[in-house]
Amino acid sequence: MKFKAMTAVAALLVAAPIMGMADEEAELVVNGEIEMVTKTEPPAHLEGALPEIMSGWRFRSDETQQTQMDDFDNPGMIFVDQAQAAWDTAEGSEGKSCASCHNEPASSMEGVRAVYPKWNEEAGEVRTLAMQINDCRENQMGAEPWKYTGNEMTAMEALISIESRGMPVNVAIDGPAQSVWEEGKEMYYTRYGQLELSCANCHEDNYGNMIRADHLSQGQINGFPVYRLKNAKLNGSHARFKGCVRDTRAETFKPGSPEFVALELYVASRGNGLSVEAPSVRN
C-alpha cells in the first residue's frame, strides 16, 4: 500500500521548480513597519521532523509576495474594513455589538489570534477563534451564529488577527489541550483518501517541490484567513483543510468539526514561532 501511495505522490510531483521562484532571502515587512518572521527554528515538538519552519509566503512568486507588503495592495484588508463595521453593529436579542463588550479591537484583541485555538476552561473544550466568535454571537448577543467558513466569519477573524500581526504564533499544546493536540497530530500523519496521502506526505516530506504547477509549502496556517488570488476572497483554515482532504479523494470532515478543530490546533502548533500574518495573500 505504501508503495502505491508513493507512486501517486511521485506522479504529481516535479522536483525541479518550473516557476520563477521568489528570492529565497526576501523578508516580509508589512507597511514598511511590521517585520514578520517567515522562517525560524522549529518548535521543540517538531524536533527531527523539519529543519526549519517557513511561512507559506516564502513559497509564493515575487508578485504575490508584494501584494502582502502594503495594506493598500492587500485586498484582504477590504474585508477587515467590512468586519470593523460589523464589529460596531448591534445584532441579536440582547442589542449588543462586539464593541459593547470589547470596545475597539485595537485595545481588546491584541495578541488573541496568536494563541488560538485555545483551551476554554469554562466550556471544557478547545476553541478556535471562529468558535469563540460564534459563542459570543449566540450566548452574549443572542444572534444567529455565522457560517463557520462564511465571509462574515473570515472577515471578523481577519479583523481580530490584525491586532496580532507580527507576533509569534504561540498556541499551548500541553495541559488540558494536550489530548486534542495529540488527536490532531495523529490526523496529520494519517493517510486519507484514494490517493492515500497524509498532510505530512505533501507538507513535511515534499515542501519546496512542485505539485503540478504549484509550489508546495509547509502548510503553515499563520497567515489564515488568507486572501487567495484564485477565488478573490478570504479563506479560513478549515476550508483549506477540507480542500486538501478532498484532493486526496477522501470524504472530508466538516469545517468546525472536532476533527478539524484538533487538526487546526496541531497545525497551528507547527507554526509556533512564525509571525501571525493574517490576512495574508496566497495564490
Binding site: M19, S61, L229, A239, R240, R246
Partner: protein, 139 residues
C-alpha cells in the same frame, strides 16, 4: 464529491477556458479593436512599456503595469481572452505620470498588448507573453 468538486471548479477562472461562450457576432477582434483605437495609424515599437510576470501564479489576478512618456491614453488588450478588452487608461491634466498598475484576468497563456496614444498624435505598441498556470490543488 464529484458534484461539489465540479461546482468549485466552476467558480474558478480555471473553468473559464472550458466554459467559454461562443464569441458573439458583435465581439470585436483584436485587430478591429486596435484599428478603432489608432484609426489605422502606424504604431512604433518603442515608447510604451508593459510590465507583467512571465508566469502568473493564478490567471484570476495577474498584476500588470503600463507606462508611456507623453501618452494621453493607453489601451490594454488580452488577446487570448474570450473578450480581449481589458481597459483604457486616460491621463488627465493632473496625472503625475503616464503610468498605472492594475490586476487582470487571463483565461489562458497568451499575449497581452498595450497601445499608447501619444500627445503628438502618434501611437506605440508593445506586448508581453504571460504564462498562466493551473494550480496543483483545487482546494
Amino acid at each position: 464529491m464529484n458534484f461539489s468538486r465540479r461546482e468549485t471548479l466552476g467558480l474558478g477562472l480555471g473553468a473559464m477556458a472550458l466554459t467559454i461562450l461562443p464569441m458573439g457576432a458583435s465581439a470585436a477582434t483584436v485587430d478591429e479593436l486596435i484599428a478603432e483605437f489608432t484609426g489605422g495609424a502606424d504604431m512604433a515599437d518603442t515608447g510604451v512599456t508593459l510590465t507583467a510576470p512571465e508566469i502568473a501564479e493564478n490567471g484570476n489576478t495577474v498584476p500588470i503595469s503600463v507606462e508611456a512618456e507623453g501618452a494621453s491614453e493607453i489601451m490594454v488588450l488580452a488577446t487570448g481572452n474570450p473578450t480581449p478588452p481589458v481597459g483604457t487608461f486616460k491621463f488627465g491634466p493632473l496625472a503625475g505620470s503616464r503610468s498605472a498598475s492594475t490586476r487582470i484576468r487571463l483565461a489562458t497563456t497568451q499575449e497581452v498588448v498595450a497601445i499608447a496614444k501619444l500627445e503628438d498624435g502618434t501611437f506605440a505598441r508593445t506586448s508581453a507573453e504571460i504564462k498562466v498556470t493551473i494550480g496543483g490543488c483545487g482546494g
